[in-house]
Symmetry: C2
Subunit: 233 residues, 2 copies
DNA sequence: CAATCGTCGATTGTCGACAATCTGGCACGC
DNA sequence: GCGTGCCAGATTGTCGACAATCGACGATTG
């Protein structure tokens, strides 16, 4: 009997964290908006105990910020963050590709093509929301295939923030624009044999992504949604 | 007026997390040992609420593992982990050096020399415990000087595990061995102007560190095995 | 004697109430 | 008018008690 984790063990903390994260990433709660524990506990019909633990988890994921005895807010958007996200992601994803390379796992290529096809399908269908998830799954595969657990942890630490910005971009501008070509070349490089070329492809892919997101962010009126009071960084 | 964090705001959760982390890293609680909430809450004289939140934080830091309704333990040691830690650290620290390079912050070099001197002093003095902290501070400076907050977060996610293994090594073998030379060359490369050389230096430094730690780990009788009593009374 | 099932202790999960702290506004004195 | 101190509301921090779940031990039965 091969090792399997069949049981969907359930804790309120996990459920609340999941739903709250989904709400934030979907934009139902805007970046910078306050998160009041009592209100949330009533909204989710749980006590503040599990709710607070769920908040702690989202804090560690970088989706929520808090100040002791003062308040908790959804993480605000910032132009500097975008640059940091994409630059660090370049380093991580390049490293991930190198790891995959070293393992020479062929199942990786088939699954990569599968997810890339799924991504292109959602893009062609104009389903921007789904294409965001598809793109995250496509890139996530590289980290999964690396077999590097700590690397995957680091990626998870970035993914939330990245999704936060993509979602905001989606809400502000609708479609994020045509990205078929960039992904096609990405795949070609991954399937090729030249690691140096792949490195350049990754860097170029990230550079364009960062430029696009930064441009959109700068065009936004009030970035971090600081309506009333000074910042909380 | 430069930004400063004046008030050392105190919460029980923060205190407990700090002390518990220190206890784990110092080896007062062995890797794999159980962490019972009721016992810890009595030990620290706090209720289980703040204690649980502190545990959540240590879980996110990778120092503690837990399974719902069953139990919580100090993270066990594993040979695979060492390889992952050092390989990911190579990627992160190389990236950090490149960031520092791009900023051309000269204060960095002075402080780098200062901390390197401090490290060598502790090594020469034979104070192994202090040299571990000194080495972490030396490498930590690279991340600080990068001015890259997300990179620092990623580093913090690695640092705990790394310190855990170094501390175990220290307890098992006493001195970790002479490392003056490696750090001298590290500094020389950092102060030089050839980034390519620096990259190789970083990779070499990490390779040797990983080899040393892995060797020591393999020599250990029972890696993550539970010592009979995770005694903490 | 082996396998199965129920029970029990241990541990974590959850809850509601109370205390500590911060923010903002207002009255007061200069 | 301006600064100061204080008060009230809101929000988070903390606590103790109760419920849910798990793992192991032992009784039971074939």
């Amino acid at each position: 009997m091969p090792g399997l984790d069949p049981v969907p063990k359930s804790t309120l903390r996990a459920h609340v964290a999941e739903r709250l994260r989904a709400a934030i990433l979907a934009g139902d709660i805007a970046p910078g908006a306050p998160l009041v524990e009592t209100a949330l506990s009533e909204r989710f019909d749980v006590s503040r105990g599990p709710l607070r633990e769920a908040l702690r988890q989202l804090i560690e994921e970088g989706l929520v910020v808090t100040v002791p005895y003062t308040g908790t807010h959804v993480a605000p958007l910032s132009v500097d963050d975008v640059h940091e996200i994409y630059s660090l992601r370049t380093a991580l994803e390049t490293f991930a590709f190198e790891q995959v390379w070293a393992r020479r796992d062929d199942r990786f290529r088939a699954e990569l093509n599968r997810r890339n096809a799924a991504l292109i399908a959602t893009i062609d269908a104009g389903d921007d929301r789904a294409s965001i998830l598809s793109e995250l799954e496509l890139h996530g595969l590289v980290y999964e295939a690396s077999g590097h657990r700590l690397l995957q942890r680091a990626w998870h630490g970035l993914r939330g923030r990245l999704q936060l910005y993509w979602a905001a971009h989606h809400r502000a501008h609708g479609r994020r624009g045509p990205r078929r070509d960039s992904h096609d070349s990405y795949i070609i490089a991954a399937l090729g044999n030249d690691l140096a070329v792949l490195r350049l492809e990754v860097a170029d892919h990230m550079r364009r992504g960062a430029e696009q997101t930064e441009k959109f962010l700068r065009a936004m009126p009030n970035l971090s949604g600081e309506s009333k009071r000074g910042d909380m960084t």
